[in-house]
Symmetry: C2
Subunit: 151 residues, 2 copies
DNA sequence: GTATCTGCAAATCCTTTGCAAGTCA
DNA sequence: TGACTTGCAAAGGATTTGCAGATAC
């Protein structure tokens, strides 16, 4: 594993499926992969627009939709009212999202493997836990828990 | 446990906290509680508007925000691009949401209790698993899994 | 009486879409 | 060349907000 993520895999699969390799698509891919975290459409757009000022955000959305359809990026919903994206191949982990302070704690994929097994066994449901955050309260916010009063 | 849910608890707590009991608020509460499932703002609005045609949907949103702040309703995000709401006190369960066909499978709260324990023990994170759906593929969609080709 | 609530209309935010022009293969 | 892509502008859906009038207590 090196610092540079593997964009090649994705570009190859695009071509292989008959899609064109446009500069916009390449820049969008590179923006996604330079992000160590999950990135929103708006953030991708900002990064791409810095070098190539006349891209349009609708192109970003269209590209993300395509990549999603091909299974090359994942969506994740951290409850912000906006979707974040994640390139296939950059390591997986799950997210604990604090509803109070908004902190996101990354946890190892293995933590939830037994849950996956149970859901598959008992409900024949193949869970994709990478796609959502788990909401709750972090240690700090749990302590200063008090609220509930007016305004 | 009876068929009629307990609205009283919520109205009492509103008064207790110094909020006013308006007809709109009462109707919103009753719409929420007559819903056996989770209900969206739009659905609450439709129900209330049926009897009281000049309510405004912004009142619904403002009421839901208030109740949420007081911990009297929960939000749940089933990945539809819209939030659903659930009155505190109506029974809890978790949701498996099929990403392909959209089917929602309800599972018992106890299924995830060991996960909660692990997250609390290892990460000091108090998970509120009621607030999100778990996404994945249901049995049927897993079988007819094929996709990935163009259009 | 008066601070709290509401309705209305307009604004905002994220995302999608129609269409004509541009471009990759 | 010609189908695939893009930019632009406008539409869309969910939710929020400013404000003046209405109302619960």
């Amino acid at each position: 594993m090196h610092d540079m993520h593997d964009t090649g895999g994705i570009t190859e699969r695009l071509i292989e499926k008959g899609y064109r390799l446009t500069p916009q698509r390449m820049m969008i891919l590179s923006a996604m992969e330079s992000s160590h975290d999950h990135i929103s459409a708006e953030e991708i757009y900002a990064q791409v627009a810095a070098k190539y000022p006349n891209v349009n955000i609708s192109t970003v959305y269209r590209t993300l939709e395509l990549l999603k359809k091909l299974g090359l990026v994942y969506e994740i919903d951290l409850g912000e009212g906006r979707i974040r994206y994640h390139a296939e191949g950059s390591g997986h982990h799950h997210h604990l999202v604090c509803q109070d302070c908004g902190k996101v704690i990354d946890i190892d994929e293995s933590t939830l493997s037994s849950l996956k097994d149970i859901l598959l066994r008992d409900y024949k449901f193949q869970a994709e836990l990478r796609h959502v955050g788990i909401f709750g309260l972090c240690e700090n916010c749990r302590r200063k828990q008090s609220g509930g009063d007016r305004k």
